[in-house]
Amino acid sequence: MSTVVLAAERVHLRHTGAEHDAVRDVILEVRAGEIVALVGPNGSGKSTLIAGLARELRPRAGWVRFEGGDAFRIPRRRFAQRVALLPQEPACPEGLTVEALVGHGRHPHVGAFAARTAHDERAVRRALAAMDLADHRRRKVETLSGGERRRAWLAMTLAQETDILLLDEPTTALDLRHQWEVLALLARANQERGLTVVVSLHDLEQAAWLAHRVAVMHRGRVYAAGEPARCLTEETLRDVFGVDSRVTKEDGSLRVRAQGPADALRSL
């Protein structure tokens, strides 16, 4: 078994100004070369947990560990050379070109004064190509469609060339083809260079397809964690999402057929 690179140890997280912890007493270990998918209903704490792992949010209790040490004690830039974060709804200044945005991904590697190297340019080009944006690189980000914009942000995190990616709903707003392209890209990078990924997803079948392990979140806690097939059971889905569903295995992949909200449908 490979080593744990990133871990939440009994972490409690609360957003500034909020009155309750959005994440409570969560334990999650992410091993090098592993893909972990966070699933769960809206407001179950997926984004908050990702923010904590990305050291965006300091735990009120518990620890976020990076390679065994306290993640918050590592210089920001060094952390950013290893861990890239895609926030759920990032803001972008008007007038910024796609290329300039993706170029920001090189920041942790370049330093404040040094010039960009050929390697930096290559990383930006590769990221643009991977996200199918090479033709759009001169366009202003605000003129892109929602899906294209999402891909531009993904390209920025790819250009960061880290060995760990934390992605908060990367496939939201993408059309079906680009959803699967993102998933395939992550799977390929994981197989080829051992990329470690923590990703929150709404689509359970996609989560099962992509991830080695899923963590099902419910009201700020991890309700169940482990292999997708063992975790995503009809019982769990009823308890966590409140839906009746049918979970089967077809050609080796998990099929989840929701049959409507358990209580709402029954009352019809």
Partner: protein
């Protein structure tokens, strides 16, 4: 209609990739307005004679050009560059195009400290720039504290601007009270409140040039950090930037720039609002070109306004700040309505 707009935008985008052309064009405008400022007035000096009159102490117009006009030209340019870059920095810090050292109360805080120094410890008048900086910094501190008290991210689009407007009003009132109480020692009330470059000499130029120089170098050295500050806090933090520290640093430089300008010119407003917003429309939000062109454009605008203030109703001289407010006020309204619309 929209096709024309789209083509115009394309055209602009293409041009923004030639920074040399922009800087050259702005530079020529600055040079022309500086020559106009040095040449026009009660005694007109033709452009061809300017150089000679400035350098040759035997020239009949030497005193006019060297002792009166040129220090004023240099001070106007420095004040304009400082205020414009200060505005650009503050707009990035609070992520809001309505920010400006005057709108946010930074010039008011600096001005209050400057006036307090002048009237209460007149023998320490050489400390005015330092105290002005402290006053500007204190204002920045209050604003950032207000923004952070409520939430981790920058406060909503208007809250911080309105806080600044309120602070500026308080500082105005305090300055007015001080000047009223110490009427015998106070500098010219209206000139200071509106902003004026009347009667500046080379020693005043030194006072504004030093903080302006330091501020310009510091902000140009930080262009990459400033570019990252335009993204949201999570993204910038994820890219390895210490967002609070960067924001505080940029605000410090903005306060330094504003304080230098206030120390010699009083409460000149709106330069920091008008210039960076116009430049951003032309070349986009990247700071390398934004700050460079804002500095040159700010210097040009204040030079033109000051020359206009001197010659339009000669021999009567208008306060330059009033002219700038006539341009800047409506501009602010337009921005505000667009922002809210």
């Amino acid at each position: 209609m929209s096709a024309i707009a789209a083509r115009a935008r394309l055209h602009l985008a293409a041009r923004s990739e030639r920074p040399g052309l922009w800087i050259g064009g702005f530079g020529i405008a600055l040079l022309a307005s500086a020559m106009a400022a040095a040449g026009l007035g009660a005694v007109a000096v033709p452009p061809g004679q300017l150089g000679e009159a400035a350098l040759d102490s035997g020239h009949p117009l030497h005193a006019v050009v060297w002792d009166v006009r040129l220090p004023r030209v240099a001070a106007a340019a420095a004040v304009g560059a400082a205020l414009a870059v200060s505005g650009a920095l503050l707009q990035t810090v609070v992520r809001n195009p309505l920010a400006d050292p005057a709108v946010l109360g930074v010039t008011g805080g600096a001005g209050l400290a400057a006036v307090a120094t002048l009237v209460m410890v007149p023998e320490r008048s050489h400390w005015v720039p330092a105290f002005a900086f402290a006053g500007g910094m204190a204002t920045v501190g209050i604003l950032l504290a207000l923004a952070w008290l409520r939430s981790r991210v920058v406060a909503g689009p208007l809250r911080i601007v309105l806080s600044g407007v309120a602070l500026q009003a308080v500082f105005f009132a305090a300055i007015a009270l001080l000047m009223f109480a110490f009427a015998d020692r106070a500098p010219s009330f209206t000139a200071f409140l509106v902003g004026s470059l009347n009667g500046l000499g080379w020693s005043d130029v030194a006072v504004v040039a030093l903080p302006t120089g330091i501020g310009l170098v510091a902000s140009l050295a930080a262009i990459r950090t400033l570019d990252l500050l335009l993204l949201d806090d999570s993204t910038a933090g994820g890219l390895g930037l210490s967002v609070r520290r960067a924001r505080f640093g940029a605000a410090t430089v903005a306060a330094l720039l504003a304080a230098g300008a206030v120390s010699v010119a009083g409460l000149v407003g709106f330069v920091g609002l008008v210039v960076p917003n116009a430049v951003r429309l032309l070349v986009g939000p990247a700071h390398a070109l934004l700050l460079t062109l804002s500095a040159i454009g700010g210097a040009t605008l204040v030079l033109l306004a000051d020359t206009g203030a001197r010659v339009s109703l000669a021999p009567l001289e208008l306060p330059v700040g009033a002219l700038l407010a006539l341009i800047g006020g409506p501009y602010f309204l337009v921005l505000l309505w667009r922002k809210l619309g």
